[in-house]
Amino acid sequence: MTKTIDARGLSCPQPVLMFLEAVKSPEDTQFAVLVDTEASRENVSRAAESQNCRVTDIQETGDEYHLTILRNP
């Protein structure tokens, strides 16, 4: 199941806190994270790697980034 996290307009560390909160639920294995600064994209990516997850795709549309994150099996 994909969990969507809309962290647009929020600055550090909020996007990371939201992702870490979401990753706590073991039933969610895929996450779609929306952010709108490069710093947030980097921070969320770094947090994902620290949580046994991997960023599989980053779509850049306009000023936004859409990150797809998968929990490692």
Partner: protein, 360 residues
């Protein structure tokens, strides 16, 4: 999407090292003792240069600060990272800026200067750094409990450019009304003729150092508050690695330049009141954590178009006015006559902000 080399582990180490070399070098070239760079002190000096306070010993329109903002703008534009945004509780950020400055001036330095003071052998900085970490830890408790100032909105490119334009305007003022040897004022700008405000590296070198640091720090997201916050919240070492590098490299550079003098007593622009070194910086750390960045990082974010960060910066500049007009700022003689009251009020205000501004 190009890979951001400066956002890697190696990148943040390089940035910490560059600041760790440039700051003691700026001190060697004329900046005050253990104050090669101090964002709080330099914004306080800018406040004085503009006449917002009349403490004659701390008035100089520090070019490093101008360079930080313009360097960050250049990096943001070069790497398509310029994102004009604003609207996340601006007045709250202004008030946090005011108390951040008051706390920093009770200690006598921003987090950068706390590191540089320690790197110069000033052991009083240990109390300041401990206070900083304590204040940031308090801030993380609020963050964990839903503290949030709300989302920013995208805004006009011109709105995002305002802060860099203001800083460029300050530079133009400095060129029109330059320092005159032995004169406390040139038309509208104040210039210290003694004290820390009278000690400065040459303008061209100062602005270039500011530009280089601003450029690198924007790309790397270097932030001293974030370093401790991320470690406390996530046990993440990324930014902290840069901060530790700054401390170590600045210490080595000071030893090379003969600027390392270890002890508590007779340190430049410092006092030895341990409790107030701790409490002042704890207040500042809490305010930085609630505002989402140390004073340096706020300048870099302001350069990349963040209007709320710009408001925090001006909160600090106005806070310096309060600090010196009301006798809140410390001096080597000790805390100001109303400094202790201001720290207590600052804590009350920041704690109230943390408790009441939560989103469930």
């Amino acid at each position: 999407m190009t890979k951001n080399v400066l956002a890697t582990r190696t990148g943040i180490i390089v940035v910490g090292a560059v600041i760790g070399i440039l700051a003691p070098l700026l001190q060697k070239l004329g900046n005050p003792g253990n104050m090669g760079i101090c964002v709080a002190c330099f914004e306080r000096d800018i406040s004085g240069a503009l006449g917002f306070h009349r403490a004659a010993v701390v008035q100089y329109l520090r070019p490093e600060i101008i360079g930080f903002v313009l360097g960050s703008l250049a990096a943001a534009l070069a790497f398509k990272d310029f994102r004009p945004r604003t609207g996340s509780a601006p007045f709250v950020r202004f008030v946090l800026g005011v108390f951040a400055m008051i706390g920093a001036l009770v200690f006598l330095g921003c987090p950068w200067r706390a590191l540089l003071r320690l790197a110069g052998g000033d052991l009083n900085a240990i109390l300041g750094l401990a206070g900083l970490v304590f204040g940031i830890w308090l801030g993380t408790l609020f963050l964990k409990n839903g503290y949030n100032l709300g989302r920013t909105q995208k805004t006009h490119a011109a709105a995002g450019l305002l802060m860099p334009v203001v800083m460029a305007g300050f530079l133009v003022l400095m060129l029109i009304f330059p320092q005159i040897e032995g004169e406390p004022k040139n038309d509208i700008l104040f210039y210290s003729i003694k004290g820390p405000g009278a000690m400065s590296a040459p303008l061209l070198i100062a602005i270039c150092a500011g530009l280089v640091i601003g450029f690198l720090a924007q790309r790397s997201r270097f932030c001293t508050m974030g370093a401790f916050r991320d470690f406390i919240l996530f046990r993440q070492m990324h930014l902290l690695t840069g901060v530790i590098t700054l401390l170590v490299v600045a210490g080595i550079t000071n030893l090379v330049f003969g600027q390392f003098h270890m002890g508590f007593e007779k340190q430049p622009v410092a006092h030895t009141l341990h409790l107030w070194n701790f409490a002042g910086m704890a207040l500042a750390g809490l305010a930085f954590a609630l505002a989402g960045g140390c004073p340096g990082r706020q300048l870099f974010m302001a350069g990349e178009g963040d209007g709320d960060a710009a408001i925090f910066v001006f909160g600090m500049i106005v806070g310096a006015g309060f600090a010196h007009n009301f006798g809140l700022a410390s001096s080597p003689a000790g805390v100001g006559p109303h400094g202790i009251a201001a720290v207590i009020i600052g804590f009350a205000v920041c704690l109230a902000i943390g408790f009441t501004m939560r989103k469930k």
